[in-house]
Amino acid sequence: MSVNEVQQNKEVEQNWEPKILVFACTWCTYAGADLTGLSRLQYPPNIRILKVPCSGRVNPQFVIKAFQKGVDGVLVAGCHPGDCHYTSGNYFTRRRFLLMRRLMEYIGMEPQRFQNRWISAAEAPKFQQVITEMTEEIRTLGPNRKLRDDQW
């Protein structure tokens, strides 16, 4: 049995639903999510958006912390390179998370659980698609146990 399967059975019975945290920058992705709403594009209700001014504000430590506390997936999303409201924040995001993503994968976290996307304020269909796909991927993987601090 895989690390995740060990304690899964119980949760599956209790109608487990993936819980995905989305860090979205105010200017692009958050606005893109707003547009998704305005356009009434439907996607699974499994994400919770946490608004940050810029994807450059997202500390990789937040991601580990979120997994520790019990989310099943984390998406960090911001403006496309070149579109950053603050000129360069997303270039730093890119560097940091290129490393972080590899590191997480390296210690055994499934890559689907931690994703990064550029989603502009105009890309409502992309937002819809990314969320839908990610939710499904994580549903397939099941509840996350890795890094989770559940001994309390």
């Binding site: 895989s2 690390v3 995740n4 990789p60 430590q61 580990i64 912390k65 520790q68 390179p81 070149g82 360069s88 270039y91 730093f92 890119r94 560097r95 940091r96 998370f97 290129l98 490393l99 972080m100 993503r101 590899r102 590191l103 997480m104 994968e105 390296y106 210690i107 055994g108 976290m109 499934e110 990064n116 996307r117 550029w118 890795k146 890094l147 989770r148 601090d149 559940d150 001994q151």
Partner: protein, 295 residues
């Protein structure tokens, strides 16, 4: 090495006698044939305590943090790894290069103290892991150089075969490997405290009120510690291997650090930290042409 020991003593003595340095950092013999311990000499007559042998493994660079506010200069003996540690501190603005006198020594590779303890000092003691991986046995910066440089042919790139091997494993295998190792972690913070790149005034792991890391020892918190520290020294790790050497429960810490070094080399171009002090750190900058994986 005996000759060099004499030269080391002479050099230290001169620095102290002439008043060029207020204190000289080196190594002295420990209680066992296979142990040495850092020593801080401030009197010319004490320079006899200094030695240079195949167990002078400690990276002395980080001690410079204790002398930040000393009026006067510090003399310090540096091997390759120590010198990169010095550069680390200079680049991090924790050390004024003018305030140290670096006495360079070419390192033949130090022996593994832990193995010596197990095998006994008379056995054939292998070279310490950190020295086997070393690519800069000669100091990269110094003011005085003692002995002869080896100009040893070293591999151009860091050996990451162990990292690559780990990468091939399945997610669950990898996770099990790291968690069984970090389950042992005592969080004694020896790895952090010995690291020249860990030179913060107050480490976030000590700031209990902020909620980053609870004191409770469990594998989840320990992994948070491990991953966060790896990210914090990412692009700054000078590969001295001290963290792994000092781990009281033998966690292969360099497997994380080397992973990040490998990725930085691959993603952002080859970079060896601690070779010079002016260049932008890999995580202190960016390039428009960085690989695009975010889609």
């Amino acid at each position: 090495m005996v000759d060099l020991t004499l030269e080391i003593r002479k050099t230290a003595k001169e620095l102290l006698e002439k008043g060029e340095a207020k204190v000289v950092l080196g190594w002295e013999k420990g209680n066992f044939p296979y142990s040495t311990t850092p020593v801080f000499i401030d009197k010319p007559e004490d320079t006899e305590r200094l030695i240079w042998d195949e167990y002078c493994i400690n990276n002395l660079a980080l001690y410079m943090l204790d002398y930040k506010h000393l009026d006067g200069k510090v003399g310090i003996f540096v091997k390759g790894c120590d010198s990169r540690g010095i550069n680390r501190l200079v680049q991090d603005k924790q050390l004024d290069r003018e305030k140290v006198i670096l006495i360079g020594l070419s390192c033949p590779g130090m022996k593994d103290e832990k193995k010596a303890k197990e095998l006994g000092p008379n056995a054939d003691i292998p070279m310490a892991q950190k020295c086997q991986d070393c690519r800069y046995p000669d100091p990269v910066v110094y003011d005085v150089f003692l002995g002869e440089k080896q100009n040893k042919k070293v591999p151009e790139k860091i050996d990451t075969s162990d990292v690559e091997e780990m990468e091939t494993k399945s997610p669950d295998e990898k996770y099990r490997f790291f968690t069984t190792n970090y389950e042992k972690c005592l969080r004694c913070y020896a790895c952090r405290n010995v690291c020249p790149a860990c030179n913060c005034k107050e480490c976030i792991f000590d700031q209990t009120a902020t909620g980053w890391l609870a004191k409770a020892n469990n594998v989840s918190n320990n992994m948070f510690f491990a991953l966060t520290r790896a990210m914090h020294v990412g692009g700054r790790c000078i590969e001295c291997g001290e963290c792994e050497r000092v781990c009281s429960v033998n966690i292969p810490i360099m497997l994380l650090n080397k992973k990040i070094i490998k990725d930085i080399n691959f993603l952002f171009g080859d970079y060896d930290a601690g070779l010079e002090t002016e260049e932008r750190l890999p995580l202190g900058g960016y390039d428009y042409t960085d690989p695009e994986e975010f889609m």
